[in-house]
Symmetry: C2
Subunit: 327 residues, 2 copies
């Protein structure tokens, strides 16, 4: 691994299909009532990295070829992810998302909650229209698990004793589970047998764990203009991610008390800066990067022995992108 | 019609089944992780009128007998309704719901949004497990429509020119559509042919319109201790319901300007009281009651010619309950 990988290198092989996925999302979010168009159009403006649909499409191509269901699954994954982000932004009080003002900062909480619900409902609707129930069953379950992970994280805010295991469980639920579903469904709709579906779920799950660990690091060490969203929000809200949890282990009782005080006092948007003026978090960040690297090595292991193809190479490149991304 | 009808009179014939519906809801909301138990237990404490499952069950019994799917559909309807209420409470800033502190006033907005999402996801999961896709397709669509109605209502806050037609469309979407689905699915899972399903959808839809109109009246003239939720919230938030829309027609330009000023100024929780000290809303309320009565007459018309049964009588009684309820 090492070196910097552009997102475009990862998604080049499915660029045309990602355009079709976007079109499906836009069609699905075209409201009956024209008054809602501006609102839902604002959501289409959030064009993110599309890693989840790209993963589903690349797995499908690598394992037997794409079917129409792959495009729909890609659109459904992207809609569920968008709905999660919209509800997340409300939760986090984030003002910037992908360099755009977040939905709730423009339209208020009430509309944002409802638009998130609307997008979830459209995603479920699209999933039920697929010829079999694999996607709809799996994604209803994953949506539940995502919420469970997010609620658990909130319940453990300001919890300096949160274990690293619980952190990994939580990010597994709130993030990795959807990546796992993308891998599994990519394989399933290419006609892969169950063993292969489960391998590709594991690949996606480990990739998703690494993605979230790096995301949590970027919230500490990233540059807002590059990452494209408000940073320092985790610590500001009392959310203790892996770099902090590791760092906490090295503190004396007095330092721990000081850490706790900084975590709870003053302006939430300033807390992380205050902490970093007092403490050096670099060991915690290095530890988290190593943990992400270990997840990605496990992910790569799940690809071993698969028939060689350009798409398989792109999946390998995806692990490289996730580790070294700056945004 | 006329006279007062107790809820118990309406639901007596399906009391045992409603207990089973409750049990299904409780099972569905039993979380894997014990930390979430208190939260989801709080939701089970919101035991409402259960009119939607009662409607589905009575229609099923009246038209050929209950199957296991009816109980599941009843539970799904109740979960979708609960999720809507939880997200609604956030929107409305309501502090009291069914005489209990609302979820967000105890646990905060962030958790409430997620718990609503969790319950939606469990409802979809249960619907996908039914042997056919009628329920899952219909309820994903209805959930979307409910959100559309709610957003439209928000976009027309403080809109003194909102038409009565748009008001009826909005309450059709946000409330009546789910009652319509309850009627339709009750008939469908009893083996009713399409014409009958559509009649029972219409019955539910008209009943739901009347339910919402009366709800909007209770927000003006109800007693908080009886209704069991915060009142005066509609006007406080700029929501112009039927009694206000009718009343507005009778105002001079100067009175209209005064109405507008009261609608926008001062403490939201006090606005309705201030308005009622200045204006007499009784004609608007009487008009809204007549409109609800007309919906219920249309609903009763849809029952004509059905084979006589106790359950059919209970459905008739339900229209009476909706019109005359105090809570």
């Amino acid at each position: 691994m090492g070196g910097s990988t552009a997102l475009e290198d990862v998604t080049a092989l499915v660029r045309a299909e990602l355009v079709q996925v976007n079109r499906l999302v836009e069609e699905a979010l075209m409201p009956e009532r024209s008054e809602l168009r501006a609102l839902l159009g604002h959501v289409s403006g959030f064009r993110g990295k599309q890693l989840r649909p790209a993963l589903c499409l690349l797995v499908g191509k690598a394992l037997g070829g794409l079917r129409p269901a792959h495009l729909k699954v890609g659109a459904i994954l992207e809609m569920i992810h968008s709905a999660t982000l919209i509800h997340d932004d409300i939760l986090d009080g984030a003002l910037v998302r992908r360099n755009l003002a977040s939905l709730h900062s423009v339209y208020g909480h009430e509309v944002s909650v409802l638009i998130g619900d609307y997008i979830y409902a459209r995603a479920f609707q699209m999933s039920v229209e697929l010829p079999d129930t694999r996607c709809s069953r799996l994604l209803a379950e994953i949506t539940r698990i995502v919420c469970q992970g997010e609620v658990t994280q909130i319940l453990h805010r300001y919890d300096l004793d949160m274990s690293e295991n619980l952190y990994l469980e939580v990010i597994g639920e709130k993030t990795a589970s959807l990546y796992g579903a993308a891998g599994e469904l990519g394989a399933a709709y290419a006609g892969g047998e169950e063993g292969l579906c489960s391998r590709m779920r594991d690949f996606g799950y480990q990739l998703g764990l690494a993605f979230q660990i790096i995301d949590d690091c970027l919230d500490v060490e990233g540059e807002e203009s590059i990452v494209g969203k408000s940073l320092g929000t985790d610590f500001g809200k009392g959310k203790l991610t892996l770099p902090f949890l590791y760092f906490l282990r090295s503190l004396s009782a007095a330092e721990r008390a000081e850490f706790d005080r900084i975590l709870r006092e003053g302006n939430p948007a300033e807390r992380q800066r205050v902490l970093m003026e007092r403490f050096d978090l670099s060991e915690g960040l290095a530890y988290a990067h190593r943990a992400a690297d270990a997840c990605l090595k496990r992910a790569l292991g799940r690809l071993e022995g698969l028939p060689p193809s350009e798409e398989l190479e792109a999946l390998r490149t995806m692990t490289d992108f996730v580790l070294n991304r700056r945004r």
